[in-house]
Symmetry: C2
Subunit: 212 residues, 2 copies
């Protein structure tokens, strides 16, 4: 077999093993030896592909992000013509996808958070960009944020195994979140026109977290 293909295969095997371990035993049980055992590789093999454990986590995050990024751009292309708020529609669909897929990206996120919280900087940044886009296109930014938050709540609660909802109910709720017609009744244009001006300061300066 080709060398590149061999590496590719091994890297994939290791990452799949990592996800399986996190999903089955929890992020705390994710060790290099466990990855080696689960993937069928030797520890040396794993360490050849990833020089450090942090590199494994990083690769895992990159991979999941790439997957959902692709999904997002794909659905974005589909809805951008028809929807009035394509960014929101895309994000809701993507979160639903993440909630449906068994190898959830969120698992990788949790594992990264445990091992090295700073790894979450990049995903966090991306997320913030998306939310800014959602707010900017919305006639009622707060409502858009609440719909987004609802999707995240569904995703994370099912991730934590705290969802009393069946698959069908889950899908129904996501469908309702996605259906603009269901939310037009109570839009409050602008950021609630009280005395304060409606200037939506979308992007706030992200305070960088420091590790000790």
């Amino acid at each position: 077999m080709d060398n590149a293909s061999r590496s590719e295969r091994s890297r994939n095997a290791a990452l799949e093993a990592a996800i399986a371990i996190i999903a089955r035993d929890g992020p705390g049980r994710l060790t290099l030896d466990a990855i080696a055992r689960e993937s069928g590789l030797s520890k040396g093999g794993v360490m050849h592909q990833f020089r450090t454990k942090e590199a494994v986590l990083k690769a895992l995050l990159d991979r999941q992000m790439a997957h959902f990024e692709e999904f997002a751009t794909s659905t974005m292309a589909k809805v951008s013509a028809t929807s009035a708020n394509p960014n929101l529609a895309t994000q809701l669909a993507t979160v639903r996808e993440a909630a449906t897929s068994p190898n959830s990206a969120a698992l990788a996120l949790v594992a990264a958070m445990v091992e090295n919280p700073s790894l979450m900087a990049l995903p966090r940044e991306r997320e913030m960009e998306r939310m800014a886009a959602i707010r900017e296109e919305a006639t009622d930014p707060d409502l858009a944020m609440l719909r987004w938050a609802g999707a995240m709540g569904l995703l994370l609660s099912s991730l934590f195994g705290m969802s009393p909802l069946s698959k069908d109910e889950h899908q129904r709720l996501f469908a309702r979140l996605l259906d603009d017609a269901q939310w037009t009744g109570l839009e409050r244009p602008g950021a609630k026109r009280t005395a304060k001006s409606g200037a939506p300061s979308a992007a706030k300066a992200a305070t960088p977290r420091k590790r000790a």
Copy 2:
């Protein structure tokens, strides 16, 4: 100082230290030695109060759950007279409280999930009871669930540090979630028993959870 008080003090110190460590360094850095260092106790002292690390996590969970349970029953008493859906109102307020409080219970949950996922069985059970109560009292159960999910999304996104929202925006969104008037426009009574016959009887079950 008498023995009971001494124990109480030490246990408290250890648990406070644990929360501080999780919040500052992440769940992966929570070790018994770290707890001893942070709390000022010796390791032996910590081990005398908690026979194992899992016992520490369990105590942490119990403590946080008790705190929010108390908060919940307190607010439940306040709103049960005025609100048509007191369970939802209470849960939303409680989640807001959890999101606001620095020593979030969610941190304890994450730590428990890392160390031993099975520890989450009890909190999960409680959560499911609450959600069942919310659904039962709602004229539009799905919408109620979505409001709850929105609150959870806000809480968890801020926990993961992925919230681009300022404190004020956060509070505003929670306030909107709590304001029934903002959501009456689009209720769809379907799915559950509709019972749209005049009087809004609004489930007067005094106790949030009744299962024996």
